[in-house]
């Protein structure tokens, strides 16, 4: 069966420091991969998605970037964190076929000090 792993679970970083959040999927090939930010009362905001290695689509302009160095690995990064980057980040995957549901990781709680 397919599983998704996301780490770390929590992270506290100073303003201006770099960021790297990692997400990996097991048990499937060529999945679609997603990064979301979840804010209380505002639902889930899609940040990036990828349909294949090296293919990244950005949904909103921001201080973050994403990369997909391997088929089942998706990384969320920043060179210099801002206070406004604080939040709860979720990784998700779906099969490559159309109209398939997404499956979510446990999330990372990021606090910027």
């Amino acid at each position: 069966s397919q599983t998704i792993h996301q780490w770390p679970a929590t992270l506290v970083q100073p303003v201006g420091s770099p960021l790297s959040l990692e997400c990996t999927v097991e048990g499937t090939s060529n999945p679609n991969l997603y990064w979301y930010r979840q804010a209380a009362g505002r639902g889930l905001q899609l940040l990036f998605y990828s349909v294949g290695i090296g293919q990244i689509s950005s949904e909103v302009p921001q201080n973050l970037s994403a990369s997909r160095p391997q088929d089942r690995q998706f990384i969320l990064s920043s060179k210099k964190l801002l206070l406004s980057d604080s939040g709860f980040y979720l990784c998700a995957w779906s099969p490559g076929q159309a109209n398939q549901p997404q499956h979510f990781g446990d999330g990372t709680r990021l606090s910027i000090l």
């Binding site: 349909v51 109209n99 549901p101």
Partner: protein, 110 residues
């Protein structure tokens, strides 16, 4: 642009009462809709999808294209139904992107 609206941030019902979580959408094509649920301290998970026309944990949701709605219903609420519920709309085209509503917190009281 497509949009999903969940008008209620919080819905409080008594155990055994009927539940209806509202979801309205705007979309120019034929929609593919989902309900996701997040129980306390658990990951967000798929509850059901309209194309399956199934009942999961006693919940059902019918797509009403005329009213552009996909309300989630259960005839008798249970305490374990307390959770955050999100309605989501899948975009056509590549990527299986989802547009989520802002969510409704369901609280089932004894």
């Amino acid at each position: 642009a497509q949009r999903v609206t969940q008008p209620e941030k919080l819905l409080s019902v008594f155990k055994g009462a009927p539940v209806e979580l509202k979801c309205n959408y705007s979309y120019s094509g034929s929609p593919e809709l989902f309900w996701y649920v997040q129980y306390s301290r658990q990951r967000l998970q798929l509850l059901l999808r309209h194309i399956s026309r199934e009942s999961i944990k006693g919940f059902t949701a019918d797509l009403n294209k005329g009213e552009t709605s996909f309300h989630l219903k259960k005839p008798f609420a249970q305490e374990e139904d307390s959770a955050m519920y999100y309605c989501a709309l899948s975009e056509k085209g590549g990527g299986n992107k989802l547009t989520f509503g802002t969510g409704t917190q369901l609280k089932v009281e004894l």
